[in-house]
Symmetry: C2
Subunit: 341 residues, 2 copies
């Protein structure tokens, strides 16, 4: 007997769609808001709000440490949290290629549900499209998240100030290298794992425990280097990073050396950059380290005014290398690895 697969009519809006929604998605995502089954979900939520969207096209769909389902929850939860918000609700839209395995869809939906429970968010509304074979590669998931902003002056990319400390919540490059290794079947190391994790609980603790947080951002596509470039540009400042302060797992360092990738440009899915006044840094690091995904949190650099020390222009990022040199760390040029998230 052949394995059950998703047929085109599951995206028709008719009876087969209802079967898929009630028989599969509701089994995992069930909550009173979703079950109203209206065109829109009714939410008792008041602002100011943060809203963020991401489509997930990661290849392969499953990798050590996660899958497209958990990633689609963590990624959007984290983007909402970075604006100083408490993510509460997610929408979830599937684009499924005809012939996709029902068993795998069920496994991925279960993973999404578990990730949502871990992050304490509800999936409240959704959409399912099925496209003919060849019109999409297996499965894409879009999630859009909203949540209430917790502080009156939320952290934003434009708020970095000269003198601020730059903190990082943990090791770099784990997600990017894991996906690359899975996709290419390089099997770089059996210990490589994506860092995919929800950061909203850590963000909540930071905002409650600290007087002032200027910037929060998760260094996903483009990695630490690109994200710091964005922040430096938005704030009109210079970021200086000390290479010997950057945390890595030995597996990522070895893997990157082997295949010639710069881990500063690899995607992370469970790490955040936190920029804040230097006097707040010790307390912030202590808070981060209370969380499993923050155990290796470290101060990795400082924010300077343009021209203050290195003749650097606003928006530039400088790496102080372990050997005592300095080099400009640009934004990611070209594409290191498509379909990383």
């Amino acid at each position: 007997m052949s394995e059950p697969v998703i047929l085109l009519d599951a995206g028709s809006g008719g009876r087969a769609s209802q079967r898929l929604i009630r028989g599969l998605f509701f089994k995992f995502f069930s909550n009173p808001i979703l079950e109203e089954m209206d065109d829109a979900a009714r939410l008792d939520l008041s602002g100011p709000l943060a809203m963020s969207t991401d489509s997930y096209t990661v290849d392969p769909l499953e990798f050590p440490g996660g899958d497209i389902g958990s990633l689609a929850v963590h990624g959007t939860v984290n983007d909402v949290a970075m604006l100083g918000a408490d993510p509460a609700y997610l929408s979830c839209a599937f684009i499924i290629e005809e012939g996709f395995s029902v068993a795998l869809l069920e496994k991925l939906a279960r993973s999404m549900a578990e990730a949502a429970a871990g992050a304490q968010v509800l999936i409240v509304t959704g959409d399912t499209k099925v496209v003919p074979r060849g019109a999409a590669d297996k499965l894409f998931i879009n999630t859009t998240g909203i949540g209430r902003i917790l502080v009156s002056r939320p952290p934003q990319g434009k708020n970095a100030r000269p003198g601020d400390a730059i903190l990082l919540s943990g090791t770099l490059g784990d997600h990017g290298l894991t996906v690359l290794s899975s996709r290419s079947k390089l099997n770089l190391s059996p210990r490589l794992r994506s860092d995919s994790a929800p950061l909203n609980h850590m963000v909540g603790a930071l905002l409650r425990g600290l007087k002032e947080v200027h910037v929060l951002r998760d260094p996903t596509r483009g990695g630490l280097a690109t994200t710091l470039n964005e922040i430096a540009g938005q704030s009109g400042v210079v970021c200086v990073v000390r290479e010997d302060s950057l945390p890595f797992t030995p597996e990522v360092l070895a893997g990157c050396a082997l295949i010639g990738l710069d881990p500063l440009y690899l995607a992370n899915e469970g790490k955040l950059i936190c920029i804040l006044p230097p006097e707040e840094a010790p307390e912030a690091l202590e808070i981060m380290r209370r969380f499993p995904e923050g155990r290796q949190a470290a101060q990795i650099g400082v924010v300077l005014a343009p021209g203050e020390q290195y003749k650097a222009a606003p928006g530039q990022v400088i790496l102080k290398t372990a050997l005592g040199g300095e080099r400009l760390l640009g934004m990611l040029e070209g594409e290191q690895l498509p379909r990383i998230c």
Copy 2:
């Protein structure tokens, strides 16, 4: 010289992504919230809220009366409005196939921006993924919308009551038949046009002008028949529709007769079903007819209690045919036409 196309690096999160976002999307979607360029958009919006999501995979991307861009705005705006809400903000996520025409992307972004302006909603946050050639068919767009619910007892699918009137805001089948005709190059009629339109202004007028609206829903995928089945099921009632009251354009009637499609199952993208107490029906029709897309609004049926007249069970929909007969109108079985929206 070859035409400029989207390359993989435009989805990298690096410099090429920034160029695409600033150079193309910002040109059309520009507003102060979007331009903050943070991971999430900051919205001053207080609840209760309606939230809805849809991914658009329509093929072809352009068709008479609209394109994937305008459709992605209208479809989500309408779903938010159907919960009695005033859509305010949209997120917008693109999945682009490598090699997609820059000129066409620009044209579609312009169309989205015009549709958003027409509906008076802002596109406040977005995402762009570029997947390798063959991993997606040209372009998919997800939009997620939120807005404030305008009434204390919002219209919902479960609220239809025996005795209620069933109103329809205009002709049926225009979107579905137009997309089918464009895709298959049937050229059924030069006058066929999608009805894609924003319904939020009409919904606002209905909610302000009427004492009570029980159900609002737009009969998109699966058409009028499937949507009425959903409502009848949610409310535990029977819907009776009079065939000779249903509005159609002559082009849709002729086209459906020619190719053997039932227009009651064809998708609409600018029509709504409104179910409300019969004494409110005349005023509701008058309000609908003030809008260009509501000129052919009509009462098309009534809601009955199960067993009241036709031995019908809760959730059933009965069509009184023009010849005086009756037949059960089931939910869409199978898939009439994939990638209709």
